[in-house]
Point group: C2
Chain length 189, copies 2
Amino acid sequence: MKIETRKQEIVSAASILFKEKGYSAVTMRDLAKAMGIKAASLYNHIQSKQEILSTIIIELAEEFTTGMDKIATSRDSAIQKLENIIDLHIDVTLRNADGLASLNNDWMHLEEDNLQYFEKMREEYEDSFREIVRKGVDEGEIKSFNIEIIVFSTLSTLRTLYLWYPKQKNIDANILKHDMISVLLKGVV
Amino acid sequence: MKIETRKQEIVSAASILFKEKGYSAVTMRDLAKAMGIKAASLYNHIQSKQEILSTIIIELAEEFTTGMDKIATSRDSAIQKLENIIDLHIDVTLRNADGLASLNNDWMHLEEDNLQYFEKMREEYEDSFREIVRKGVDEGEIKSFNIEIIVFSTLSTLRTLYLWYPKQKNIDANILKHDMISVLLKGVV
DNA sequence: TTATCAAACTAACAATCGTTAGTTTTGTTT
DNA sequence: AAACAAAACTAACGATTGTTAGTTTGATAA
């Protein structure tokens, strides 16, 4: 369907604006201007402003859910699973850094149903992460620090990649992955 | 001045609402309702919605600037300086976790002058951080990973503390500091 | 050429926004 | 009791919001 293409253009333009000013501060007239058309014309392609937001966020959240499921159910070691999680975040960030801004900062503006769906996915993602770390500590692969702190500090860094990566020039994805694994898992001292 | 007290109450209530929905999505009527008064009554104590935002953000940014200046100009080792930076972030987070949400997510809604002032402080803060790490690497205290990745991953975690700390129950500040230093500097593997 | 249809347009709506003006309430001081 | 100031109120403003209705444009197919 051709309409899908045009809708995707709108979603992409919106992702950039949402990243810069947040969902609430971006008006349909702002978005239209960025597309070079009038605000009313947007409604030939989308149903509402809310639909744009949920398209951006739910798609990304499902990517993370799918990726985490594969990682968590594998037979890899805890360390290998953590490395795969880092990989997952870097891959998604490279593909859609703009959309991740909405996922991180504007999820609370989702309407009822999608909000619950999103929160459920996020909770399960964090639970899987925690479980991987817990098992890693149990089996002596990971130092027995406070598990919550390990999960929090790692996830904070991975979730903020979208802000930082676009500013880095000429950094190869594979080198980035390798360095992130070193810093996050092996420490800097 | 008594008016300062009432203004501070408004700023505190606003910090909580801004944290939950972001600056743009919080209306003066929302804020008034949280205070148990009418929207117009707010203007007996503040000049504008914008003034509330800048009060929250600039105050915190200056705290970080002052703290970083003391740390950066001391004769401590690079490692000790990093530990002091972790301390600084934890201290500020314990004192004003709600306000940090605005500093992290709504700084772009500051008006021209304050926006430039804020951005200058943030840039200088990051430069100081980078310089500490650089010197630490030069002198062999810190592993020679990509400096930007070290700065970014550490700062991401510290900046996101405000989201995570309030959810942790019964965690002593000193234990938190100790564990954060362990995880951020010494790695988890 | 004519018919078709996606995709743009103009114009307007009801609701809500931050804010102002002027008035009343409340509590303290003289 | 009278006077005062702080802090609340009611009412309304002009601007902007997301969105709808109806119309025109422009490219493609018959």
